[in-house]
């Protein structure tokens, strides 16, 4: 993703934030222009996990690499906009202290037709999972543990090559 590639007309919006975000407002931001027929959103939430003593997740800590994070997200968004005819691409990811049920992140894509919007959103998620510098730590009654990377997340990138 080093090559900036052809300049796309897509509006990119990247946000790395500790704060809650407004999914509805973000989706509406992409509902614009006479050519936009499809808007896809993906929302990621903190799921509860069951610990050995039967208690659940107390909270999650998300660490990131300020500076590189924004660059990586922008590169991923730009790559999507180069591959599909998108009108808009939004990527928002939170860091810090998150409770079960909290929103972690979202992507949104808009395009003339559904195929491009769906594929680009799935692509963004696959790349985000293993190419954006975020690390999750789960805190349960048993203690705390860094979430291990999942091999299938790395494998998921294969279909976009």
């Amino acid at each position: 993703m080093g090559d900036p590639g052809p300049t796309s007309a897509a509006a990119l919006r990247i946000l790395v934030t500790e704060a809650e975000f407004d999914l509805a407002a973000e989706a509406e931001r992409l509902e614009t222009g006479p050519e936009t027929g499809a808007v896809v959103t993906f929302l990621g939430r903190v799921r509860d996990v069951v610990s050995e003593d039967g208690g659940g997740l107390r909270h999650m800590e998300i660490e990131h690499y300020p500076g590189m994070t924004e660059r990586a997200l922008e590169a991923i968004a730009r790559e999507a906009a180069d591959r599909w005819p998108l009108a808009g691409v939004t990527v928002i990811h939170r860091y810090g202290h998150l409770a079960p049920g909290d929103r972690i992140m979202m992507v949104a894509t808009s395009s003339r037709h559904r195929e491009a919007a769906f594929e680009a959103a799935a692509f963004l998620m696959d790349y985000l999972k293993s190419r954006a510098p975020f690390w999750k730590k789960e805190v349960t009654a048993d203690g705390e543990a860094w979430v291990a990377a999942v091999e299938k997340d790395e494998d998921a990138l294969g279909r976009w090559r």
Partner: protein, 83 residues
């Protein structure tokens, strides 16, 4: 040269700091890892299994054999778990 070296997640915890300045003559990222390992036990522990360590040079993800010439910032971290 003086490099800014960053550590994240459990690498940060094992090494005991998130950021330090390192004076080094290492030619590549892998050479820098060797230098750090030889320096103190906590580095040797953190870098014990390099299959679980990723590196970035000046905020770009890179392979471990990447040269350090001209680099200002090197970061080490586990495989990413965003999303």
């Amino acid at each position: 040269m003086t490099l800014r070296v960053l550590y994240f997640a459990w690498l940060r915890e094992r090494i005991g700091t998130g950021r330090e300045e390192v004076e080094t003559g290492a030619a590549t990222v892998a050479d820098l890892v060797e230098e750090l390992r030889a320096r103190e036990e906590r580095y040797a522990v953190a870098f014990a299994d390099m299959t679980t360590v990723r590196a970035a040079v000046d905020q770009e993800l890179v392979p471990l054999d990447t040269p350090l010439a001209g680099a200002r910032e090197v970061a080490f971290f586990p495989p990413m778990t965003g999303g």
